[in-house]
């Protein structure tokens, strides 16, 4: 087990390192930030001073090493626009994002998993077909289309809910519904196929054959086994709590991480973009790691095969 944890932990670290490197390479090699920030006709002395201040005159590997050391020390650079630590700005926006993604996650789990289980247990029934149709819609309707249709219905026509901003709790409803319904559809589909796969296994027939009531077969044997693949997708959803709302935040002008990312990208605010990339990567990697470890804990086959 320790070997298993170590190997997965190492993989997580390597991924983080790759993300840091990727961010650095893409952001630094893409053009001269001094020119972009100060504009081309800025006086040469000003550009020189700017470069010195931000360390842009050093060789690229030196900049990279400095950057790595700073990241390790918890120093993610200052925002070139606002002049204060980039990570502070980023963390200021995390709360707003979580305010819509956490309720959306709850919505996904509370609707998606029961719907998937029900559909699998009543295969080919009307409920199953409706669930499947909705889940296909969840894959194919882009979130910005769903968001705009909801705005059209609930804000423009009915006038019940506000369409943009974050002044009151009412503003959060449409973003939460947009995120939640799409995710619930996807989760229902995964849960259903996981359940169907388990229900086809011989141990389910064995459990029925030894005389267990169907309810006991489902709760005692089918659900725990079907939980394993479902955990993966829920883990992924938890990992994308911060990154998963970029488009929706933009539609509703919700001042979260996605909104910040798009404006930072438009302003070429390197430090802020890097901080967001790192934060998102850290969340995703941690969620994956936890899922991997849960997997190994629940299913001994996984940790044994990883040890070899």
């Amino acid at each position: 087990m320790i070997r298993f944890i170590l190997s997965r932990g190492l993989r997580a670290l390597v991924t983080i390192f790759l993300v840091v490197t990727f961010a650095f390479i893409v952001l630094r090699l893409s053009g001269d930030p001094a020119m972009q920030i100060l504009s081309v006709d800025a006086p040469p002395e000003a550009i020189e001073a700017f470069r010195n201040e931000w360390g842009l005159n050093q060789p690229i590997w030196q900049q990279f090493l400095d950057y790595l050391l700073n990241v390790l020390r918890g120093n993610f650079g200052d925002s070139m626009r606002e002049g204060r630590p980039a990570m502070d700005i980023v963390l200021d926006h995390v709360g707003a994002t979580l305010m819509i993604t956490l309720p959306a996650l709850a919505l996904k789990i509370l609707i998606g998993i029961p719907a998937g289980i029900y559909a699998a247990l009543h295969r080919n029934s009307l409920a199953d077909r409706v669930t499947m149709m909705l889940s296909v819609a969840g894959f194919t309707v882009p979130s910005f289309v769903l968001a705009l249709v909801l705005v059209l219905i609930f804000s423009v026509h009915l006038g019940w809910l506000p369409s943009t901003g974050n002044a009151t709790w009412k503003h959060a409803i449409l973003p939460i519904i947009t995120l939640g319904t799409a995710g619930a559809a996807i989760l229902a589909r995964f849960t259903r196929s996981a359940m169907l796969e388990v229900l086809g296994q011989s141990y389910i027939r064995a459990a029925s054959a030894k005389g267990l009531v169907w309810r006991q077969v489902v709760t005692g044997h089918a659900l725990p086994n079907a939980a394993i693949p479902t955990i993966t997708i829920v883990g992924f959803m938890i990992g994308s709590l911060i990154a998963g709302a970029v488009v929706v935040e933009s539609v509703f002008s919700w001042p979260g991480i996605g909104y910040l990312l798009i404006s930072a990208v438009a302003n070429r605010d390197l430090a802020v973009v890097q901080s967001i990339l790192l934060l998102i990567a850290a969340c995703m990697v941690c969620a994956n790691l936890v899922v991997d470890l849960l997997y190994g804990w629940i299913d001994p086959r996984v940790r044994l095969s990883a040890a070899h």
Partner: protein
Amino acid sequence: MTDTTAPLPQADVHGEPTARSPLARFFENWPPSVLLALGWVALMLVIAIGADHIAPYSFTGMDLTSRLSPPVFMGGSWSHLLGTDELGRDVFSRLVQSIRMSLLIAFFGTLIAATLGTSLGFLAAHFRGKVEALVLMLIDFQASMPFLIIALAVLAFFGNSLPLFIVLMGFNGWERYARIARGLTISAHEQGYASAVRQLGASPWRTYGHHILPNIASTLIVSMTLSFPETILMESGLSFLGLGVQPPMTSLGNMVGYGREYITRAAWIMLSPALVIVLTTLSISMIGDWLRDRLDPTLQ
């Protein structure tokens, strides 16, 4: 012992199984929903290819005398079937041009992803060892970051041009092909034919191109059909955010993004491209699911 999970087919109970009409058998192989989906995709292809002949107006042409005129079914005139936008541009002509652009980007994006992923998968399976570890590491990296975030960073910092954007779309989902190609190639090497060809002295190029690739092609084609809609969605999402296809060029996501400004006064500007996105991705995924069931039941 009775098998309660799989009831016998009804046809056997009622006499000869051949009693079903040819039409019923046809629809069993070609479900109506799939036929509809194929029809829609064919229509989209015709529009994309013949865009210049189908569009009644130039997609950038402005007609300031008929700005924000509603579509026919909302009381508009026949001269602008789907209405016009704030600058008096014909929504139908723009839609036709957008369909061409979005399909073009999704097509080349998917092709690049499939080529890149399959090649890396082959490399990993051929060399094993360090090369394989490197490819697996890249797969891990790609799978652990939401592609939208990577794309946003790359686009905004490298600026935006159409070729760059298409190549970027080609990085969306390559890791899936790499996983499939690697896994299937490793198992192909364990089967007789691949090693037989190798021992006859075939070059790796020949072994992979002429023998292994045709054997795993059906799985790859199914994955391409399943990832094509995702590429359309990624393209339209980025264009919607204003970071994809740039004006004066237009794509489906672009039109929706432009139309959201007018959602209270002229919802038709965004509704028709939104509907096309949904129907197209839906049709292609239905075809993909159907192909998967027919060609490759192992992929689930």
